[in-house]
Subunit: 541 residues, 2 copies
């Protein structure tokens, strides 16, 4: 079925009907660069290669190609694929994922990894460390368990969709119990010292434990709850002016303009539309954002800035590490810190709109009469709500806190799954001052648990906290960043982040990178100070 | 580097940073369909499976997944990839292509193929035949030769680009001589009985030989040369009204409208823009066209209809064969016959514009005063020209004839590469009545030879000839197709092609399919009659 038909074959590229292909352009690049064929022969990319290390890099180049193929198909599915393509895409992704897994965990890779571990120095040692961590995560779970979980996840997804639409927690409960049982099994396979949660959350955020998260939440819980209550008492902000029938092409042009302005390189990336915005990539030369166009104009604007934050992090990886396991962001939490920096600290600042509100008003004259202060207040509206994905910057962490506490308690058995709705609703009342009237807008709202993604939620909050901590360090070197933002001069800001975060790739562990970049471990002080100052001023508290 | 970042993780799909993925949607489909996991377990897709056949199908499903990944990356590179992505894409395509080749020619596949050949019956026997042919083409050429050719092709591409731009045939000559040497080596590896050309052209068009092509060209050469000369004497047609600054979005809408009208299913496909239009696909549910927007309005219109012809052929494959080697078009020539049918026989008919000229004129009011007859004559303008890819329907075969004759003579040694320019120019003078004044617009114009694609050109003419032969058979069952076309009723036409051609996939050899569909072997009579009648009427000869 796969075939390329060229009108006139002016530039033959690939013809799978005949089994023949033309790699002239491809080979040209490879040959001219190295004088030899193929990435497999590219000695020295990460220093002098020893034999086990060389084998490891060769195998990992193939793993990277399969990862890239999967990411390509995934990007396509979320952006352009016609709906008739879904079934074949499922088969293809399944085959490629199996091949990827088999190639990665093969004896040859493991043997090469062992050998390389003894030989590697410098950046290569870091590379081996990263691969070794991935290998442990990929091999500690028995294939049987992975398959059982995947099968349950498939059923659980349907059950969850049905339960949410019918507000039927009882109908979902047996599946959810099974999923938490599997999570416990996973944790035992992965291993942990203190808390069962540690094994699971480490998959998402290297080195973090339940105790770490607890400490993190304890430091922010009190002040955040207090601030949110004070704001709730200050009365509502009316942001209805930001809702309208905004032209999609104009939204696209405006969001690409601001993404370009802050430093996302469109020669090495692009932006498309997707129902759920994401960022993905294949190399430092090809990082892609997606956004969406909704009646609320902030949806596209802050969606783009959020993804552009992820994108600039990825574009900032060292070229020398491109296509290797050292490239890209170091962890979910650190990545989220960068999306939050550009979305919230930069994009939701007053200074940003001093610079860009006139452009927005030229694009959408219906907003022409708004002052910077009015607009600034509207885009920073705080309103405790029941739904996490619609939450504002300030209340977001309280949503993830509820989930973290419930996950821990269910895993240890302190809370039964059947009692989850009551626990959920009470916590919402306590932390956010509102109580869900249904489980659909309560503990059934997230897809994560149906998929067994347990241990994930705190990384969102880590991103919020780190963004302010890193900004604090940046502000010591980059004087008056707000003045730069108001002038549209983002280069000094991006350069600082590039030097201290993006260029580090995965060379250090997340904890090391935080220490190196900010001089201390994760510390919520800057976040609380920053948010507090911003919102007390905004709401006149 | 590969990572997907979801804003809010509303719908987690794939996160390669953490090595975790969520196959709920994928697995759901697979599980619901078969009650078991994975395409590997889909027994019975092509009948009862015996063990060797089962293994073969399993391995071919993985080969198909890799083919699909390559096709996806290729489509992306030609449509949306930012320019910074080219180097990584080259590495990824090279890795995936090597994996694809290794998986296909692996001992396990060959052993399964041998076993399956003894067991398979019915459609399975056809499947085995198709795979066996591909296997022979893939294994007869030593890997060393393939690599040597690929390397030469990379260099030759640069040399060819430079030579064409500087009109320097002498500079390209040594490389071209090497490429023909390699072609001779290839032919010896592939094997042949009568003519060295047979081995090469069979790669592109199963079962065709130099003698077959010679017979084909001999039957059309005289009448075509004569007709072209008569038209040249009849004086030029002015089609300058069709050149303008046509809005791209409107061209896009119009071309999608006509593609949909003729029967291309946009629920199972889409159209994008590419510098060199092509059609590609991943399943019967996902077939994609590309077109381009040029000052000449026919470029997009006929480009779309051409690719839609390829696309409808692919969309018409039986669902039961989807993702297997039996799916899709049977050969280059047959495929081209379908693109030519919809582009020329349908799209360049008077009847088509009786139906669609009013729509075009509403879209582009600058054309509002043209009558159907005026427009019909403009889009069928015949003018002998030097450049193949710009050639009209009538002169196209004379361009490929020149190349066919030269390829044969150089391969046998009857013509030296150094004498190619003179031979080329003389043939153009003889067949088309015009003589190139430079080699750049002469024998340096095509990319094919630099890539070692020798034996390819006659398939274009086969497509032209077959399109009329098949149309003749169709016209016996579908009464007055022109009346249907004028009413925009394409369903009876598409249904006939679907039944007699598209639904046959690759079950029969190309020659068998031609015989089955038209009751005789390829015969240029219908082509000559059809073209003759059309153009004599148009030019009042």
């Amino acid at each position: 079925m796969v075939a390329v038909w060229l009108q006139g074959l002016e530039s033959p590229t690939f013809n799978l009907l005949t089994g023949l292909c033309n790699f002239s352009q491809i080979l040209k690049l490879i040959i001219r660069k190295d004088g030899v064929l193929g990435p497999r022969s590219e000695g020295g990319r990460l220093g002098v290669m020893s034999s086990a290390l060389k084998v490891l890099k060769e195998r990992m180049a193939d793993v990277n190609a399969l990862d890239s193929a999967i990411a390509m198909m995934d990007w396509d599915q979320q952006t352009y694929m016609p709906r008739g393509g879904v079934e074949a895409r499922a088969h293809h992704l399944e085959s490629l994922s199996k091949m990827r897994h088999e190639m990665f965990v093969a004896d040859e890779t493991q043997k090469a990894l062992e050998g390389a571990a003894k030989e590697a120095t410098g950046d290569d040692a870091a590379l081996v460390r990263v691969i070794d961590r991935d290998m442990k995560l990929s091999t500690k779970l028995p294939v049987e368990l992975v398959a059982r979980k995947a099968k349950l996840a498939a059923i659980a997804h349907e059950d969850w969709v049905a339960a949410r639409s019918k507000n039927d927690f009882a109908g979902f409960m047996p599946t959810l119990e099974q999923m938490f049982d599997i999570a416990r099994e996973e944790a035992e396979c992965l291993g942990y010292t203190d808390h069962i949660y540690d094994a699971l959350t480490d998959q998402y955020e290297e080195g973090m434990t339940a105790a770490d998260w607890k400490k993190m939440y304890e430091s922010i819980k009190g002040p955040q709850v207090e601030l949110v209550k004070a704001i709730a008492n200050a009365g509502p902000v009316d942001d209805s002016r930001l809702v309208g029938d905004w032209d999609k092409n104009k939204q696209s042009e405006f969001t690409e303009m601001i993404a370009k302005a802050v430093g996302f390189d469109f020669n090495r990336g692009r932006q498309d539309t997707a129902p759920h915005p994401f960022c993905t990539g294949w190399s430092v030369g090809d990082i892609r954002l997606t956004t969406r166009y909704k009646p609320y104009i902030g949806s596209a604007i802050f969606g783009t800035l959020h993804e552009a934050g992820h994108g600039m992090y990825e574009q900032g990886s060292p070229e020398a590490w491109d296509l290797t396991a050292l490239a890209g962001g170091v962890s979910l939490g650190m990545h989220e810190s960068q999306s939050r920096t550009w979305e919230n600290i930069v994009g939701r600042s007053r200074a940003f709109w001093v610079r860009f509100l006139p452009d927005l008003q030229r694009t959408f004259p219906a907003l022409a009469d708004l002052s910077v202060d009015q607009f600034y207040k509207m885009i920073n509206k705080v309103q405790p709500s029941l739904i996490r994905v619609e939450a504002d910057e300030l209340t977001y962490n309280l949503h993830t806190l509820v989930r973290f506490e419930i996950e821990c308690d269910v895993l240890t058995g302190a809370l039964k799954v059947k009692d989850m709705p009551e626990a959920w609703n009470s916590k919402y009342e306590e932390y956010l001052g509102i109580r869900p009237s249904t489980d659909s807008e309560g503990c059934l709202q997230d897809v994560h648990w149906s998929q067994g993604s347990i241990g994930y939620f705190p990384t969102y909050s880590m991103g919020n906290i780190l963004s302010y901590q890193i900004w604090n360090s940046l502000s010591k070197d980059v004087k008056n960043p707000d003045e730069l933002i108001a002038k549209g001069e983002f280069e000094p800001i991006l350069s600082w982040l590039q030097k201290n975060i993006y260029s580090q790739g995965k060379k250090f562990t997340p904890k090391e990178l935080i220490q190196n970049a900010t001089g201390e471990p994760m510390n919520a002080k800057y976040y609380l100070d920053g948010l507090g100052a911003k919102y007390r001023a905004l709401y006149g508290l």
